[in-house]
């Protein structure tokens, strides 16, 4: 039944044409190193199934790049990639007993990551639809300028300030630099001494927390 199985890495890698030129040696090397990496991950996962903690941490860390690539291909936005990575890693942990060490780990992981990416896109699609309707409602009922609205806005601003001040230091810093001061990632990184990846993650986490606190979104 080998013809019915998904071989290799489900198109994660580019299949270079094989010609007798110097570039073909380079592509052969790339292909071979990718094969080795794939086999290494399979071996680590097999060891992880037997309870090897180090192998498990290695395979999970090595999986992050693959999960990101799959999620990007599914159309997940860059600022949401970490959410998909986390969801996929949690799923991998829960269903790791379904991995067959005789088969490609990358194909197994890519299928789970694609599913998690689609779930993420679906849930965000629903949020997006709700937001469009809210905007429409706002246009239909203009209430700019009256005293009640101004009071409400002042209260909302106070709640927002309070929520921001209660954030963990890293997240608060990211909101202040990127959101309130509207600095670029590079500028914020230079000013805070943090790397841009950490700033992005912190900002994403902060927005999620604020959304939960202010709107009760899960």
């Amino acid at each position: 039944m080998s013809g019915l199985t998904t071989a290799g890495t489900m198109g994660l890698y580019i299949d270079f044409p094989r010609r007798a030129s110097p570039s073909s040696h380079v592509s052969d090397d790339i292909h071979s190193s990718q094969e080795q990496a794939s086999q290494r991950r399979s071996a680590w996962m097999a060891a992880a199934q037997d309870g090897d903690r180090q192998a498990y941490e290695k395979v999970l860390a090595d999986s992050v790049g693959l999960i990101r690539a799959v999620a990007r291909r599914q159309g997940v936005a860059i600022d949401s990639l970490d959410d998909v990575v986390q969801e996929t890693l949690l799923t991998v942990h829960r269903v790791r007993h379904t991995y067959d060490p005789g088969r490609s780990y990358d194909a197994w992981l890519a299928a789970i990551a694609a599913r998690r990416a689609i779930d993420h896109l679906r849930s965000h699609g629903r949020h997006g639809a709700r937001e469009v309707q809210d905007e429409f409602a706002l246009d239909m009922h203009p209430d700019v300028g009256d005293a009640t609205t101004q009071t409400e806005r002042a209260q909302e601003a106070a709640r927002l300030r309070q929520a921001v001040s209660e954030l963990p230091p890293g997240q608060r810093e990211a909101v202040e630099q990127l959101g309130l001061k509207e600095q670029s990632l590079a500028e914020a990184a230079e000013e805070t001494g943090r790397n841009t990846g950490a700033l992005k993650v912190n900002l994403h986490r902060a927005l999620k927390t604020l959304r939960q606190r202010l709107h009760g979104d899960s």
């Binding site: 039944m1 019915l4 199985t5 998904t6 489900m10 992880a48 199934q49 037997d50 309870g51 090897d52 903690r53 180090q54 498990y56 941490e57 999970l60 860390a61 992050v64 970490d82 990575v85 986390q86 890693l89 949690l90 799923t91 942990h93 829960r94 269903v95 790791r96 007993h97 379904t98 991995y99 067959d100 060490p101 088969r103 490609s104 194909a107 197994w108 992981l109 890519a110 299928a111 789970i112 599913r115 890293g170 001494g193 943090r194 790397n195 990846g197 950490a198 993650v201 986490r205």
Partner: protein, 217 residues
């Protein structure tokens, strides 16, 4: 100095929970278990009703034998496909595995049906008995479907509806094959139509309910 990324902490936390796990058996080995479960029921029915009636019917109408055997092969193939589809990374082409035997089963039944329309058989069963067949297929399919759903849920079906359809087909074809052990002499058009309706009902129920039961957690 930057604080550790949440993903790194998550990996460390998952690593701390790296207990050994019992690997899922391969779809092939799980299919052997499923086939043994069906054969156990077949052995009970043969013990209860004997083989005489079935052998006599096969001699009189070889197509009935062909339909029974292909229904049994469909039950094995559809079970195998359900187990394979429930593992991440396996090809969706598994869904076609039961197709050849299903075609033979339908063709053999359809030909028998056509023949009874052209040359009416006085021994063929009437409508009340056909209704009994429908009840038998649907009633036996319920526990068989429950068994398969439990087995498939142990894996992680990323295509739950397809897996559920395969479960419905496996349990309905198993029930139809088992019915052949004690079924009356020959089949009338209404009887064969009833079998087809029963199989469709079982597949439909499984697709509607099983899809939800098998949704990835």
């Amino acid at each position: 100095m930057s604080e550790p990324l949440p993903i790194d902490s998550l990996i460390k936390s998952l690593g701390a929970q790296a207990a050994p796990v019992r690997r899922l058996l391969s779809p092939g080995r799980r299919t052997v278990g499923w086939t043994l479960a069906v054969l156990t029921i077949a052995a009970y029915l043969l013990w209860r009703h004997g083989m005489g009636n079935m052998m006599q019917r096969w001699e009189l109408a070889p197509l009935v034998c062909c339909a029974g055997v292909s229904a049994f092969v469909t039950c094995i193939a559809a079970g195998w496909a359900a187990f394979a589809l429930s593992i991440p990374g396996r090809s969706k082409a598994w869904v076609w595995l039961p197709l050849p035997s299903l075609v033979v089963w339908m063709a053999a039944s359809g030909w028998g049906c056509l023949r009874t329309l052209i040359v009416p058989n006085p021994q063929a069963v009437g409508f009340p008995q056909s209704a009994d067949c429908l009840v038998f297929i649907v009633a036996l399919s319920v526990p068989l479907s429950v068994l398969l759903v439990l087995l498939v849920r142990r894996a992680y079906p990323l295509r739950p509806v397809r897996a559920a359809i395969m479960i419905g087909l496996a349990s309905a074809s198993a029930s139809a094959a088992l019915l052949g052990i004690f079924h009356p002499i020959d089949s009338a058009a209404s009887d064969l139509a009833m079998h087809a309706i029963a199989v469709l009902i079982v597949i439909g129920i499984n697709a509607a309910m099983g899809g939800r039961l098998l949704q990835p957690r």
